[in-house]
């Protein structure tokens, strides 16, 4: 028995565009297209999320991405990481999927919605580019869920 859709907005809202993931998660909680989804906000992806991932039918991670055009939104399906990274206190989506597969014997489809970021300065607000991209990122999440 799996619990359904899990949306995880990743990032630190106190560090500029790193707050893009949590900002999308806040919007997702009120979006009727995502009714019934479990929406979580996390500063980092940690091993404890593996239990939630294992119980989900589809997982969407929303995260800021440095190096992409600011405000650009892209979607990628992530395969479980092939290697076995030594434990740190945070994981990327591929490593989280790999840990889930190893510990629980299954992993649902995992997608990452990336949002191009312009800066992660402490105390800075979201940039105009990222703020303008939030609806598109939310649409991307909803589109993934609608297809699954």
């Amino acid at each position: 028995m799996y619990s359904g859709v899990l949306v995880v907005g990743v990032g630190n809202p106190l560090r500029g565009d790193d707050g893009a993931g949590p900002a999308v998660a806040a919007l997702a909680g009120d979006d009727p297209r995502l009714a019934g989804a479990t929406v979580r906000r996390a500063v980092q992806l940690t091993p404890e999320l593996a239990a939630d991932v294992a119980n989900a039918s589809v997982v969407v991670v929303v995260d800021a991405r440095f190096g992409d055009e600011p405000g650009a939104v892209d979607v990628a399906r992530v395969a479980p990481a092939a290697g076995r990274p030594a434990l740190s206190h945070h994981l990327d989506a591929g490593a989280l999927a790999a840990l889930t597969a190893l510990a629980y014997g299954r992993v649902p489809p995992v997608y990452v919605v990336g949002i191009g970021a312009s800066g992660f300065a402490a105390g800075a607000p979201l940039s105009d580019d990222v703020r303008a991209a939030l609806p598109a990122a939310l649409d991307a999440v909803a589109a993934i869920v609608a297809e699954c």
Partner: protein, 476 residues
């Protein structure tokens, strides 16, 4: 050092919380002449708080660490209670206990399942590429998922009460900021059975592995020391309050029902020139005879009983097997598991009382005293926050005595003992060095940090002769 000695440096020490290094010094005969554990990071919270309003202290102090923020919030709020000269409402005391015990569960689970179980599953001689949580998940999925479930349980309790898993602002001077609601209580209680099952499996798994580590159990830091911890007047373990009890290595009482607040009367401090961590000692016996340990092993040594039926039954079996006051640091692992079992049980017990939903959760007052001390048990041991304020409630002075400081001298001894037994001057092996690291890992030191790079930083150890010639190197 050069000439008469040679040094082996393990830098950084991995799978602990924070940054440190170990230096092993060889003598002319090639045997280990000494070893020390150095804390190489400096946080400076005792200085940056000066000038801040007293009411801000719990929130500021929680930023000392991302692993044990709750411990600092509890001790800090108790110090502020003293300054305001108030007692929190009874339900707030109970809710603080729940959060503190949840911190014990999540922190101990991280230490045992995520950081130490790889050594116990694969052995100390296994390649480091296997000895981590992913390796455990591949080889023993139930063990890994139980560790994840337990840490998640502790974090969920903290998040439910405080709104955040890390740095919750809910514990405040005078009590807590919000009452517990019925649906929150039910949500926590619903997860208790799974958490209890997980720790029971962990205990059974640990017992099944123990026979294979008899040598390490005798070697990883067995120097006899005093033990210190907080105890209720009933003799049960105390975590958020209680009085101080100290016993020697044979279990003889050296102090009991001692008010923990005037710590300067019974604890002395020694500054170590090669570390940012000071060593403390029991003043009545002087240094180094007054060296003591704190944390799970010490707490089990000082208490009459934990105070919950199943944990006490298992504690009785533990004592029958290891003695009344085990001295090997290796047994911190089992003590940690027993405390997880006890903590979950007590969380369920407190939340089972409908009175915990009472909405009178905070006593409000202004500054009524110029000084306050808050003492509680953090996962790693007794934690003391001591503040002085001016008439406006602005902080003028801060002193923190943290669990890892209490244990510093014992950790140094453990490193030296383990190095003397396992390090040979003509070669360096992974297993040899990992046993030295593991001696430190038994204590689960938390080096007051909020940034971690565990498993990412390179580790390079050089072995040099007394003349300074490079004999061997190991790099990770």
């Amino acid at each position: 050092m050069h000439g008469q000695h040679a040094d082996i440096v393990i830098d950084p020490v991995t799978r602990i919380e924070g940054h440190s290094k170990i230096t092993i010094t060889l003598g002319d005969d090639g045997a280990v002449a000494g070893a020390r554990f150095h804390v190489t990071q400096f946080r400076g919270f005792e200085r940056i708080c000066v000038g801040r309003p007293m009411h801000e202290m719990p929130a500021i102090m929680s930023r000392i660490c991302g692993i044990c923020p709750v411990s600092h919030i509890i001790a800090s709020s108790k110090a502020c209670d003293e300054i305001m000269a108030v007692s929190p409402p009874p339900v707030a005391v109970e809710l603080r206990r729940v959060m503190n015990l949840a911190q014990v569960v999540q922190s101990h689970s991280l230490s045992f399942f995520h950081l130490s179980s790889p050594d116990l599953l694969f052995g100390f001689d296994a390649p480091p590429g296997e000895r981590h949580l992913f390796g455990v998940a591949a080889a023993a999925p139930q063990l890994a998922s139980d560790g994840i479930a337990l840490r998640r349980f502790g974090q969920r309790v903290i998040e439910t009460l405080g709104g955040k898993r890390v740095h919750p602002g809910w514990v405040v001077p005078g009590g807590v900021s919000q009452p517990l609601e019925a649906d929150q209580r039910e949500a926590i209680l619903a997860e208790v059975p799974e958490a209890l099952d997980a720790v029971r499996r962990g205990l059974e798994w640990y017992r099944s592995r123990l026979a294979g580590f008899a040598e390490e159990a005798e070697a990883l830091g067995t120097s006899p020391t005093l033990s210190m911890g907080l105890v209720h007047e009933t003799g049960n373990a105390a975590y958020s309050d209680g009085d101080l009890r100290v016993v020697d290595a044979e279990g003889t009482l050296l102090a009991d029902r001692t008010d923990p607040k005037p710590y300067w009367e019974y604890l002395g401090e020694v500054v170590q020139p090669d570390s940012f961590l000071k060593s403390t000692y029991w003043r009545a016996l002087g240094y180094p005879e007054g060296t003591y340990r704190v944390g799970p092993l010490a707490r089990l040594n000082v208490v009459d009983r934990l105070g919950s039926p199943e944990a006490d039954e298992r504690l009785g079996e533990y004592r029958a097997r290891l003695g009344r006051t085990p001295q090997s640091s290796f047994h911190y692992h089992e003590a940690r598991l027993l405390e997880i079992l006890h903590a979950i049980t007590v969380i369920a017990e407190i939340l089972g009382d409908p009175g915990v939903l009472d909405h009178h959760v905070r006593s409000v007052a202004a500054v009524n005293r110029s000084e306050g001390v808050g003492v509680s048990e953090a996962p790693r041991g007794t934690l003391m926050h001591h503040y002085k304020v001016d008439d406006d409630g602005l902080v003028t002075w801060v002193n923190l005595v943290i669990a890892t400081g209490h244990n510093n001298e014992v950790m140094n001894r453990a490193v030296a003992e383990t190095a003397a037994r396992y390090v040979r001057a003509d070669r360096l092996t992974e297993g040899m060095l990992n046993r030295v690291e593991a001696a430190i890992r038994c204590f689960d030191p938390c080096l007051s940090c909020s940034t971690h790079a565990i498993g990412q930083m390179p580790l390079e150890i050089e072995l040099r002769s007394a003349a300074g010639d490079l004999l061997d190197t190991v790099a990770r």
